[in-house]
Symmetry: C2
Subunit: 225 residues, 2 copies
DNA sequence: TCCAAAACCTAACACTAGTTAGAAAATGGG
DNA sequence: CCCATTTTCTAACTAGTGTTAGGTTTTGGA
């Protein structure tokens, strides 16, 4: 019984992975059931035993992408100690977001390529999931703001859009084997928090001019991670 | 003679605009010559009098998008006085970039949707144009860095990718009639330069106020999300 | 008004798409 | 080994694709 189901599950996964790769390369309309079947080492008709339509497939691919990010960030935030500052949370969220979209890169890239062409009903569902994720960031930022860690003029809504835009774009240029995700996350967090001209020293040394602000320090554990 | 050519030019523009809208909504493969013809109030066959293939059309659309941004930013930079600081140049470039991608929104959105599915030769050409644009930003940033306006640890390559990612993403959420482009540009520049926690006042003087933050304990709200 | 050039349309061809019904093969407990 | 169940394949249908050849209409200077 369990074995029988396993066989089917394996095929499903193989088809799903293949679909993500093809959708990523050719978009929604550009993707052929025949191409997916080819990539998954199957005949086109066989896909329909596991997924009842092309829409069913793209829908599954889209969900995996956004869910991976949401879960990754949620887990990273929960793993932080209660003493974590807003800065700590932002850094952790950035790192988790980047890790996730790189990890399931085929799925997130497929989403970026295909989401705009997908039938309305499917897109609507996925957009709701993305909005939910956005609200997590809204809370992270407004929490840090309320702690007094941001300048008073900061526009949180715009900041969120700015940050998520930059993060989502990363899949376009990030190549495994080059810079590490941690490095990228650290630098992104530095820009977001201190800017390019920031007086707050990003990593280590802390001399020059009197400490501009208290909450600049971050738990070394997080940074090292 | 001039009138005759004008008629053709008008039709070309109408077809081009229609193509941009359809490509934006359905991507490259999802776009039908019949759909473009419909949008442009023409019969499908007539398009071929002006453009010799679907590839010819998408190619024109892609070029317009990136060229509008390059020209807009180039012009804005040249319009600055010699006394302009690195900060001035960055702000101006951000504003010009945003203005351009909003102005020709259909074309830039079409690019984002279709570029990944387009035939290799066409994409390669467009990618070269985009790299050229990227090098403009590289110069802006390295110029500001050499003037000593950035912290020494700033990673310019990552910063450029971060900034361009955030800017390019703007077309996804920016809706005319809401926030003004100037407001968005100002806030984006503030984040890039001073960060969210930046103590430096947007205008210029570096005057650090007393520590505004006494970490008041993590709000459980965030973690609960 | 006339008429060549420009602009557009009609109708079709060759091809590929998603999907399906039914046959064939693989699987695994008895 | 047997056979019911699960899984895969074969072969096809319908609909829609980019593109084109050739005819029709529109245009604007003489």
């Amino acid at each position: 019984m369990t074995k029988k189901l396993a066989k089917s599950a394996i095929s499903q996964k193989r088809i799903l992975d293949a679909a993500a790769r093809i959708f990523r390369d050719y978009g929604y309309a550009g993707t052929t059931m025949r191409a997916i079947a080819d990539e998954a080492d199957l005949k086109p008709g066989s896909i329909y035993y596991h997924y009842k339509s092309k829409d069913d497939l793209i829908s599954a691919v889209l969900d995996i992408g956004i869910r991976a990010v949401t879960d990754s960030v949620g887990k990273a935030l929960r793993a932080l100690p209660d003493t974590a500052t807003g800065r700590d949370r932002i850094e952790a969220a950035i790192r988790a977001h980047l890790s996730a979209i790189i990890e399931v890169g085929d799925y997130t890239l497929a989403t970026r390529r295909a989401l705009g062409q997908v039938p309305e009903a499917i897109r609507a569902r996925n957009t709701r999931m993305r909005d939910t994720y956005g609200s997590i960031w809204q809370e992270i930022l407004s929490d840090a703001h309320q702690r007094g860690e941001f300048r008073t003029t900061a526009n949180l809504k715009l900041a969120r859009l700015f940050i998520l835009g930059a993060l989502n774009w990363t899949v376009e240029w990030f190549k495994p084997g080059g810079r590490s995700i941690d490095d990228v996350a650290r630098e992104f967090a530095a820009i977001v928090l201190d800017g390019l001209s920031g007086r707050v020293e990003p990593v280590g040394l802390a001399e020059e001019l009197p400490p501009p602000a208290k909450p600049k320090r971050a738990s070394a554990r997080v940074r090292a991670a």
